[in-house]
Symmetry: C2
Subunit: 330 residues, 2 copies
């Protein structure tokens, strides 16, 4: 050794990468141990890669005092939800952290623990990324990779007049859960219901088991992030069709069903991360079988028609007018 | 049409994507017109994808009053430099913008114009991304994709005792260019030299033509971002070897050569985005031919030996001790 080793007193960028991130990439040969500036992804014949990016900013997408492990898991899950919505199976991800000096090794240790937990749950690995400092709020960007057989992807454009409209799980829990997390439902619901909804807001359940099974069945698909009505509007716009939602058929959790005056929030609130998809009615038995296999309930909530726009009908078949966040007429 | 269309008065997220970003993705079928949450990347048999991520934060990596087109081009280029350093050919990129409200359509128009300019120059397209708001500084994350034949990638680990150490272009202009851009060289150099160096700082020249031609020739490679001496240290550390730099052989631009007391900045300053690579001496003629074809000069600046660490020798063969930014003994 020609020179004495000079070890930094605190973990610098390289030390943080080695301690917190390299273990998360150990199972992926293409990550090269995070020693290089780039990573390698192998391609298989007959497959396509599906890539999605979602960013989260402290104070915009999460609260400054949210536990760092939950922040990490939400970041992972909103991206996996995008992959599932294209019927792709998740593979791995690149992560960029822009952290202020106030977020030291303790925060990063919790954040990395959350990543490790969800890597194990979803069978994915860290592949690479970048770590920078910022004078501003924590800003996190995750680029997620999945695989799909060529032609097996399900896009937003593809809904046809006559298709049924389906959703997975229950709708509205994400937005109602934000209210619950902020204490706005205290005294309105029982503590157990409040805890259920708040958890649904803090920790999305990406439908990674169901999404790929809808390949070849769903004609169009996306995940619900902007709100059910607005997101169906996105599908209708790019597909050149119109949509009808029957409000009474939208599935609710037991906690949500106890709330009065919930309809606008359920239909427009967003942050559900459930799958919204359309399919020909003759695929309904196969879709139900896929849902049973995945262990995720699905429900028919409406239909696709010719024309433009989305409308919501009540039990009597009358139009319901909505004017909330996430809702736009097209 | 069932409902009257409600158009937002100002461009919202969707309007901004449609106006500024969708045209940048028009040439890539897999980008799906940016209408979906994910994009598709086709894989070719015998190829691997090479993926890299670099983020830039206002006030850290660029100045608040830097022109937005130059910010965009620097962001693109630092990522392309990482691809070139692995001998990959660039394909496209995903972009995440976290913008404060102060950065309106004018800023975004300039930013998109810079992206368009470099897309044309480097033959790449936008593939997807995310747009979020932030209460903090502009934070930009770019994930770049390239392709490389299986086994043709060049990693950092691979330098062997006896290899020569090469660099492309001239070294030190990036760091000296920051001094120039900040007015620190006023009166020291002529205005033309100051302008040359400042431009080298503001607009890296990623060696995308040279990098892929070094596949099969270079034993290890990276781009110089942390500084020549420190970056050779990175190669040596992961390769398990030591490196010697002969200071007098480090190529300088005419402007840099005019500066006294420049050595520490040249060796440790960083932001060069030149290629630093090692190769067996019998590859030197082929490397020179590749450099001639690419139109990028290369120079031998030292050699790889057994052991650990990096040292810099002066013309008399004596060790030069450095203690600047980017410099660490290993």
């Amino acid at each position: 050794m020609k020179h004495p080793a000079a070890k930094p007193a605190a973990l610098g960028e390289f030390g943080r990468i080695a301690r917190y991130f390299a273990p998360l990439a150990a199972a992926a040969p293409g990550a090269l141990g995070l020693t290089d500036d780039a990573a390698l992804i192998d391609c298989s014949p007959g497959e396509r890669l599906v890539v999605t990016v979602d960013a989260m900013v402290e104070g915009v997408h999460f609260l400054p005092d949210d536990p760092p492990d939950l922040v990490a898991r939400k970041l992972v899950r909103v991206n996996l939800s995008d992959l599932a919505a294209m019927a792709a199976r998740p593979v791995g991800y690149f992560l960029t952290t822009a952290l202020p000096k106030s977020h030291g090794d303790d925060w990063l240790a919790g954040f990395a623990a959350g990543l490790a937990q969800d890597q194990a749950e979803f069978g994915i690995t860290l592949l690479g990324g970048d770590s920078v400092s910022t004078p501003g709020p924590v800003t996190l960007t995750l680029t997620a990779f999945g695989r799909v057989p060529v032609g097996g992807e399900v896009r937003r454009a593809g809904a046809r007049a006559g298709d049924l409209v389906f959703v997975s799980g229950t709708i509205g829990d994400g937005a109602l859960g934000l209210d619950a997390a902020q204490g706005k439902l205290d005294g309105v619901l029982a503590p157990a219901d409040i805890a259920f909804l708040a958890d649904r807001y803090r920790l999305p359940r990406p439908r990674v088991g169901l999404g790929p099974r809808l390949s070849g069945l769903a004609s169009a698909m996306m995940d619900i992030s902007d709100g059910l009505a607005g997101d169906l509007g996105h599908i209708c716009e790019v597909s050149g069709v119109s949509g009808v939602i029957e409000a009474t058929r939208v599935p609710l959790s037991a906690a949500a069903a106890k709330l009065p005056d919930r309809l606008a929030t359920v239909l427009t609130g967003g942050d559900d991360y459930e799958l919204l998809f359309t399919a020909a009615s003759d695929h309904q038995p196969a879709i139900q079988a896929a849902a049973d296999t995945a262990g995720v309930p699905v429900a028919v909530i409406g239909r696709i028609e010719a024309g433009q726009g989305v409308c919501v009908r009540d039990a009597a078949g009358a139009d319901i007018v909505l004017d909330g966040v996430g809702w736009r007429h097209f």
